[in-house]
Amino acid sequence: MDINWQFIISTLPLYQKAAWITIKLGFWGTLLSLVIGLVCSIILYFRIKVLKELVEIYVELSRNTPLLIQLFFLYFGLTKLGITMSETTCAIIGLAFLGGSYMSEAFRSGIEAVSKTQIESGLSIGLSQMQLIRYVILPQAFAVTMPSLAANCIFLFKETSIVGAIAIAELMHVTQDVIGMYYQTFESLFMLVAAYLIIILPLSFLLTWLERKVRYAEFGN
């Protein structure tokens, strides 16, 4: 099989640009997801009235609808209601909306894994509720839940491949365009796979390293 290297070299800048957009979307989507997830799980832990119910509705809504539909709603639906946002903003909000519920569930399972006696032990040295969360519960919850948080991060980076549907020139979108224009299907898809690997493999290694670090105290190597 012949590979058109000339083509690959000539489209490299296009892919490079798209890769940066993917990274940007993935980064902000993941970061906001983590924040939303943490806040939601703390609301669930304290069983704060009303907010707790809202979080539960949000989690079900977000986990049980496809990202594509969420994006269409944000991009086309809200415009009908007079709310217009840029494609990038929509995409990041969409990713955060989806990721937030996954992260929230991951944090929740970690928090629930912290034994009741740990909490009593913390209370008995006079810690306040906030101190208990910060010094006793969250660090242990993190150690337990780190593998699922890492999986969610990688999942969200991969989910960016859908946001091309609302006209963002991320990797998937650019690849489809390139195929449409030049019919170099194999080379284009090869570039696409390579680009995702270049982005996600280091992320994956970073997360594995982080997981070891976070879990060392409690679980050893």
């Binding site: 006696t117 209370l123 040295i125 006079g126 150690a143 105290a217």
Partner: protein, 249 residues
């Protein structure tokens, strides 16, 4: 050793505790004097542990009063964060924080809760660790320690808050027999120094050695309060006699 003329540190009056409809503590009365060691004995499920847990607010109570240091520990306006600093508690399963090293475990309360100087707390921690023979383990994680070592650290963690009373809730129940001794020795040492303590245990020999008074509870009621010698040789109630017979072969 009679400490009944010492100042009363803790007074429990007609304490009632219920879980749903089941009565766990049914009118407990007790006065603990400064420097006194009370060992709480009784069959499983009689309410011994619950009694200790009521004293530092880990369980709510349904009736009666607890006075500690002249202040009531009943009602919604008790400042438990403040009170718990003066009431050290050690649990059956050690419950060291697994994500922190030994020294971090010990420093957490004094520094974050009591806002003390790190340097000063470090010195105290070093002294206490020395006393329990674990100076060399201060940078270990709990998982790297044996049960007996963990329990000694848990005691140091509570002591470093400078409590006025220590509560021990079956602290040797989860330990191998060989490790029981090293923990009990630490508690005996504390008794010698005049620490006020309430100890729930199933170690009869230890109870006899350490106690100023034995509190025998059955079905949530105080059956007997007496000095250890009297309790072990000549118990007043039949229930206590039965209980003690279990430990004889």
């Amino acid at each position: 050793m009679n400490k009944e003329n010492h100042q009363v540190l803790l007074e429990i009056k007609d304490l009632h505790k219920e879980y749903d409809t089941r009565t766990v503590l049914d009118g407990i009365h007790l006065r603990v004097h400064k420097g006194e060691v009370i060992v709480v004995l009784g069959p499983s499920g009689c309410g011994k542990s619950t009694l200790l847990r009521c004293l530092n607010g880990l369980e709510s109570i349904q009736g009666g009063d607890i006075q500690f240091d002249g202040e009531s520990l009943v009602g919604s306006n008790v400042d438990w964060q403040k009170t718990r600093q003066k009431i050290g508690m050690v649990f059956q399963n050690y419950d060291l924080f697994p994500h922190m090293t030994v020294i971090e475990n010990i420093l957490l309360g004094p520094i974050k809760v009591q806002k003390r100087e790190k340097k000063e707390v470090m010195e105290q921690a070093a002294q206490l660790l020395e006393k329990v023979g674990l100076s060399d383990r201060k940078d270990s994680y709990p998982r790297q320690l044996s049960g007996g070592q963990k329990q000694r650290i848990a005691i140091v963690r509570a002591l470093c808050m400078n409590p006025e009373i220590m509560l021990f809730d079956e602290v040797t129940a989860a330990l191998d027999p060989e490790m029981v001794r090293e923990v009990l020795d630490v508690i005996l040492g504390l008794a010698k120094q005049g620490m006020t303590m309430m100890i729930v245990t199933h170690e009869m020999g230890f109870a006899q050695a350490v106690a100023d008074r034995i509190l025998f509870i059955d079905e949530g009621r105080v059956c007997e309060i007496s000095e250890p010698k009297e309790f072990f040789t000549n118990p007043k109630t039949e229930r206590a006699q039965q209980f003690l017979n279990i430990f004889q072969f």
